[in-house]
Symmetry: C2
Amino acid sequence: MPSIAPTLSDVAKLAGVSEITVSRVVRNKGPISRATRSRVLAAIEALDYVPNRAAGSLASASAPLIGVLLPSLSNIVFPEVLRGIHVGLESTGYQPLIGVTDYDPLVEQHIVSSLLAWQPAALIMTGVDHTETTRKMLANHRVRVAELMDIDAEPIGIAVGLSHRKAGYDTGRHLIGRGYRRFGYVGHDWDADRRARLRYDGLCTALAEAGMTLVAERRNPGPSSTLAGKETLKALLQDEPGLDVVVFSNDDMAVGGYFHCLAAGIAVKDELGLFGFNGLSIGQDLPTPLSTVRSNRFLIGKTAVERLLDIAGTSDNRTIIDTGYEIVEGATA
Amino acid sequence: MPSIAPTLSDVAKLAGVSEITVSRVVRNKGPISRATRSRVLAAIEALDYVPNRAAGSLASASAPLIGVLLPSLSNIVFPEVLRGIHVGLESTGYQPLIGVTDYDPLVEQHIVSSLLAWQPAALIMTGVDHTETTRKMLANHRVRVAELMDIDAEPIGIAVGLSHRKAGYDTGRHLIGRGYRRFGYVGHDWDADRRARLRYDGLCTALAEAGMTLVAERRNPGPSSTLAGKETLKALLQDEPGLDVVVFSNDDMAVGGYFHCLAAGIAVKDELGLFGFNGLSIGQDLPTPLSTVRSNRFLIGKTAVERLLDIAGTSDNRTIIDTGYEIVEGATA
DNA sequence: CTGTTAGCGCATTCAT
DNA sequence: ATGAATGCGCTAACAG
């Protein structure tokens, strides 16, 4: 086998047709007779021909790539979204080109710029915080754009996710319905996590409607983690021992809270209710399954891809797709 | 702003130089006088020029891309490796193009083929199980290759990881040294996870050297998970109640085992020791930190990238890089 | 230090 | 249903 890769022209020669015919067979586009198609396919097989993507992209001014911008890979939530994207992309011929923004719109802007240099078919971004320059670039390139997770804002293209404000509100209603009255809140850094704040706002609205407020709250600077949840709950309970339920900014934090209760001998649910957000499997595998809200991360990624590929031709499709959420009763609240 | 992106030629005109000069400035390659460089940079700035990667890749027969093949995104370990890769790639101009093999060498083969179509600078693969066709493709394309995680085999290019056999062996020695005598093993599916099996082999070797064998063992079909660990430990203890320590195939499984002990009222360590593998943060955040082996996933990804970019020019660099591991004493064994 | 020439491999457009 | 001509935007290999 030659160390130089075969090209369209090699295949064409072997099959006794023109290059463009081979190209049509490869892309499955345009009318081709059954006879020539099979001759070409045989030649492709014989030579182990693989199309050169750079050449194809240059000629067509568009690449079978989907740019994916994630804020972080440390939080299990985003690999799960990525998994959904992957499954949605399966056998479409598109490949994901990924970038990590570290929750910084300026970093995001640079990544968008370098992703656009590949002329991707679409861009999948997380959240709704973008710089003006980013928005301008996206408009100029006429790339299809999906914004994931958050649907509480005006989208650039399509938005796929859930209303975090509503999820927070429903959390409040649910817990009030179960008889809880003295609410505490344990959270993490809001500056990077707009959605956690929306949930908090929704929760407070529900409490206010019922004539209550949070009895105590505490937010740990830095990202969410089991450790942060553990320590922050401990601190909160020192401030204010008389709570009957604590809502956490997400499951990571809540699992930490659960571990604190175990270590401190606090009877979860009877003595203190715990409530999370996301529905991570670690929470559901605890000896006492965590009460929480399932956020369907996988579905968000998968749905986004499917919609983006659907609207191939169309222009200006501002759409909001609500993938919803479900309250997971669990056994901690 | 025009909706058509500026090209090298536009920049060249504005700066009053030839295209190739602009190209040299952009790529920071070849000698350029300070004066022209700044004129060109000004023109680039003025036009918001972004190089077209497809064109560049076609002309140079190589793209600033690194293909990354991961077996799965469900297991937290691989996103962590990916994070290392990302950090290693930061500000190098390379971008990761990722594929997920689902632990299937044939799927891997297809992905390798479609990744190579982009002419990536290098390929990062996980593990050492590849089809003959895959090996042939890699040889023909003269791509730099790194195989991650596993260094107990002859590498294609560079291998970055740790000796899982040795880690298993040291686990055995460590636990024997702490006085444990009646060993149990709880594992998951081996067919997909060669490394788990190597650790098991190492463990058995250590036991044999001390004149012991596993008293009981049980492997759950399917991937590792907290749930699997929980249920499998339960089943194992029903078979054989007289164990004093159980080694798990990894931390996910071990955390599940820990949860079972909590629920069943088994005193961890005093009554039954638990030992994992990986050193995941969830294990360390338990009320009782898990005894385990830290496997440095982040470092593996980062190191692989750094080495791959190092050996840019060189050819045929078969190297094994041992990122090591550390026994984490913890409090469960 | 800078420029000229010549393609890279493919898809688009227009023929036939 | 198939083909010819042309160029996408950039870089390698040489000049000078």
